[in-house]
């Protein structure tokens, strides 16, 4: 369905395009997975603070979505994913990664266990080919529903109140990573308490034809609660502050890697906690067991960088000036008021007491400055407000 849609036009508008285009003051666009998407609507700071202080709304439609059904749906997903999918009960969402035979990460995403035996896989990258090959020997149906489902992320401290005002009775009782359904405009609105901001927030999923009524109802309900659309730049800051990795930024999806050795394993992305060797066979298991035995090549860390200059694209040096790693994503985090960098360190670097420096270059009025900023490994979360987990969710 969605591939056919792209036959008609190379880059597609999302189902929310009429509203998004009308509200996008900056006219600042990029292409995300074949869809036109705004970098910003008005001003990145305003949008970021909407997510942190009121409600930010992000158009998630380009996110790749697969509907997975059939008697072997669970077994199939369990073979694809490194985590034990059987533990994701109906009505729950689970974060996961999936790997090549070599134990290198294809992508990360979320599995929605919509109802018994019915799943939705949300991914950054298209992966139908890999899913189909993985389906050999399973009785399972995989349908790309990317174009059929319209999705919005509704994130921030007033998000629950906004959705209540929209008429979602009892939404405050939905637990983190839970899924609930509500009637909306004669259709079914699926709401999950998930997001990419590390804060209280929800994601809304509905038939693409209902996109505009949903947008209108949401913005009407949230007007007094300072709801605001947000672009990918603001979301990018929020996700770094939350410590979330991003495909294409913090790792290269394994099937896109051209140069030998550039892909990363779950252990090398700090996601070893997802890997379950006791659940039975899954793709990459042998390779990951070998890695566990022989050691990883890289360690993924969240670094506190001294000063306020973002360490984007920086090398990490030891005290002798030797390169021991590099930054994959970085941002000054306005709420946590810290300068955060996500970094891939050569083993064994990246231990808690390692003395490390980020080599930061920045330009002010054609004047370049080079900084060596001391970095420390963060062990706890950078931004982790209690409302993120509170149930019932605060309604401000």
């Amino acid at each position: 369905m969605s591939l056919r849609a792209h036959d008609e036009r190379m880059v597609m508008p999302t189902p929310f395009a009429p509203r998004v285009q009308a509200m996008c003051q900056t006219n600042d666009w990029y292409i995300w997975a074949g869809y036109t998407t705004p970098n910003t609507f008005e001003e990145v700071g305003l949008e970021y603070f909407a997510m942190r202080n009121s409600t930010g709304v992000f158009d998630l439609c380009p996110m790749t979505k697969y509907r997975i059904t059939g008697p072997d749906g669970e077994a199939f997903l369990n073979r694809v994913m490194v985590r034990d999918v059987r533990k994701i009960k109906p009505g729950r969402v689970g974060y996961t990664v999936w790997c090549t035979d070599d134990g290198m990460v294809h992508d990360d995403g979320t599995i929605f266990h919509l109802s018994q035996g019915e799943y939705r896989l949300c991914a950054q990258e298209r992966c139908m080919d890999w899913l189909q090959w993985s389906a050999l020997g399973f009785d399972v149906e995989i349908v790309d529903e990317t174009a059929d489902i319209a999705a919005l992320a509704v994130q921030g401290p007033t998000s629950c109140a906004t959705l209540r005002r929209m008429g979602l009775e009892g939404i405050e009782q939905l637990k983190p990573f839970g899924i609930a359904s509500f009637p909306f405009n004669g259709a079914e609105l699926t709401v999950s308490r998930t997001g990419y901001t590390g804060d209280l927030g929800y994601e809304l999923w509905i038939d693409a034809e209902q996109a505009l009524p949903l947008w209108d109802a949401l913005f009407e309900a949230g007007r007094e609660l300072l709801i605001r659309p947000v672009g990918s730049e603001a979301l990018g800051i929020a996700r770094i502050e939350a410590g979330f990795i991003m495909a294409g930024e913090d790792f290269v999806p394994a099937e896109q890697v051209v140069r030998h050795g550039r892909a990363r394993s779950p252990f090398e992305l700090g996601l070893g906690w997802l890997v379950d060797f006791d659940k039975g066979p899954f793709t990459g298991r042998n390779a990951l067991l070998r890695e566990q035995r022989d050691g990883s090549r890289y360690r993924f860390v969240v670094l506190d960088v001294e000063g306020n200059k973002p360490a984007e694209h920086s090398f990490i040096l030891d005290k002798h000036g030797r390169t021991i790693g590099h930054v994959t994503s970085a941002a000054w985090c306005p709420t946590a008021k810290t300068n955060i960098a996500l970094a891939s360190m050569n083993m064994p670097w990246g231990r808690e007491d390692d003395e490390m420096y980020a080599e930061i270059y920045y330009n002010r009025e054609l004047h370049w400055t080079r900084l060596l900023s001391r970095c420390r490994v963060r062990t706890g979360p950078v931004f982790d407000p209690p409302r993120r987990r509170a149930t019932p969710a605060p309604q401000v």
Binding site: D101, W133, L136, G137, R285
Partner: protein, 529 residues
């Protein structure tokens, strides 16, 4: 019997008592391992089998000529001491001509062609022997890998490099050149005589989904002619048919202490904690062992016995894409007398007979297979073993066995109703060369690739267990991840024709596999210690 087998603890189970399974069992038992071989059929031997297909008439129902038995394997297993007896050796090859102008190839010599062609064939034969020596050294060892190389692999590659270098510049260049082209071009480079070219081309396409113009046919030719480097100038026949070879291999394995249990079809490799721990039979009975070695073809092993869900998806894709669709049917005739091929001296009737008038004819016959049809004018390799072996047919009567190509496994419309029609096509083709043969036929049986698949458990009815082509041979056989006889499943190994160096009754895959298993387990014990 069953109870005593069950009570006995085995450390190694081999699935399939085909010749490679028995060879592997022999070497492992000789090394002190407790080996059980489980065979689906009623007798050991796999495609080295003799079957009575008509009262009083017996035929080698799978392989019908012995072309590549490795002499080291035969000697180390003491096959002649286990009742193996040749009915005929060093058979000549007769390239049949419909008008009786046959050619006779005897080792390096060809009769019935111009002096130029005869000289060209002698030098072609000599060069192939030199090429064969390179392959011989490579076939007798575990294939190396190019990455994650061990000292052993480095040695194999050095040895290969050295044997290539020893060929000298001209031969080395020629081998590199012809290795990747096709037998059609090579035969045209050397010879003028169409029948001679066709005889050469047949050895490049027998058993393979390839026409003379297909790439990989030169490698297939060299693979088939490896026997020329092992001291024989042509194929051999065994007294009692190929089943006698199966029995001799089985006796050898038993002699070393291996147990063989027939009528025991393995349907599942048992796994615990993602490791092979034994096998289960169709009866539900199961056997435990630390090491399970499959002599079954790779596709059946991984798709059916292990199951795709237990494999990494990328590996499962390789298994799925492994090419193992056979194109050969077997024709078995019970004959009232010796057939009279037009113009053929009766003394030559027991040699290896080829029915393929020219290379274009073979190519056209192959064209049908490409489109899921059987050939309307098939080519054949024919043997009348009863000329040398009276035990196969009543006195004065004969059996004829022919490999008939091209009969694609995935025939459009299926083989259910087409088998008889193809049998008629084959009989008519024979009749054109041996007038009156039709009247001599007492019984005729055609085994389609589907029948061969069922009779011998070979996926696609492919006797090599998978196409012999460069992407599935040498370093890559059968597929990355299952090369060097080990598999992605710890404790599960391969030892059959699907592994290096491939099919044909050679025994090297079984021997190399046994060595690899012993070596790997020795090193893991040392690692543990």
């Amino acid at each position: 019997m069953t109870d005593s087998l069950n009570d006995k603890r085995y450390d190694t189970i081999i699935v399939g008592a085909g010749h490679n399974g028995l060879v592997c069992a022999s070497y492992l038992a000789r090394a002190g391992r407790r080996v059980l071989v489980l065979e689906a059929a009623g007798q050991p031997g796999g495609a080295a089998a003799t079957r009575e297909f008509h009262p009083g008439f017996k035929v080698s129902s799978g392989a019908h000529l012995l072309t590549q038995l490795n002499p080291t394997v035969a000697k180390e297993l003491g096959l002649t001491g286990h009742g193996l007896e040749y009915a005929a050796r060093d058979l000549k090859t007769v390239a049949l001509d419909a008008n009786g102008q046959h050619l006779v190839i005897d080792g390096a010599a060809v009769a019935g062609v111009s002096a130029d062609d005869a000289a060209a064939y002698a030098s072609f034969y000599a060069q192939n022997q030199r090429f064969g020596k390179v392959l011989d050294g490579f076939f007798s060892r575990r294939q190396p890998t190019l990455v994650d190389r061990s000292w052993d692999d480095a040695f194999s590659l050095l040895k290969l490099g050295w044997s290539m270098k020893r060929l000298g510049k001209a031969d080395m260049q020629d081998l590199m050149r012809v290795g990747l082209i096709n037998i059609y071009d090579v035969a045209n480079e050397h010879f003028d005589n169409d029948l001679l070219k066709a005889a050469v081309a047949m050895d490049g396409v027998l058993g393979s989904h390839m026409g003379p113009r297909s790439p990989n046919t030169v490698y297939a030719y060299l693979h088939r002619h490896i026997g020329d480097c092992w001291g024989s100038s042509g194929p051999a026949l065994l007294r009692g048919g190929m089943g006698a070879l199966g029995s001799a291999f089985a006796e050898a394995a038993r002699g070393f202490g291996a147990d063989i249990r027939c009528n025991s079809r393995v349907v599942l490799v048992d796994m615990q904690d993602c490791r092979a721990t034994g096998v289960t039979l169709d009866s539900g009975e199961s056997f435990q062992a630390d090491t399970v070695i499959s002599n079954v073809d790779p596709k059946t092993t991984f798709e059916k016995l292990v199951g795709y869900p237990s494999l990494d998806a990328g590996f499962a894709r390789r298994v799925h894409n492994f090419r193992s669709r056979g194109v050969s049917a077997k024709l078995h005739l019970a004959l009232d007398g010796l057939p009279g091929f037009r113009g053929l001296d009766a003394a030559l009737a027991g040699e290896r007979l080829l029915l393929a008038p020219d290379m274009d004819h073979i190519e056209r016959a192959f064209n049908h297979a490409k489109y899921g049809e059987y050939s309307q004018a098939p080519v054949m390799e024919i043997s009348i073993p009863s000329v040398h072996d009276g035990s196969l047919a009543p006195a004065g009567k004969h059996v004829l066995s022919a490999i008939v190509q091209f009969a694609p496994y995935a025939l459009r419309g299926g083989w259910d109703s087409a088998g008889d029609a193809f049998k008629q096509v084959a009989l008519e083709q024979l009749e054109a060369y041996a007038p009156g043969l039709g009247g001599q036929v007492l019984a005729a049986e055609l085994s389609t690739p589907i029948d061969l698949e069922q009779e011998f458990g070979m996926a696609g009815g492919h006797w090599h267990h998978g196409e012999i082509a460069l992407d599935q041979a040498l370093l890559m056989r059968p597929m990355p991840g299952a090369h060097q006889y080990s598999t992605p499943i710890p404790g599960l190994y391969l030892c059959g024709a699907g592994s290096h160096p491939g099919g044909g009754i050679m025994g090297l895959a079984g021997r190399n596999a046994a060595q690899a298993v012993i070596k790997q387990q020795k090193s893991s014990q040392e690692h543990a210690a």
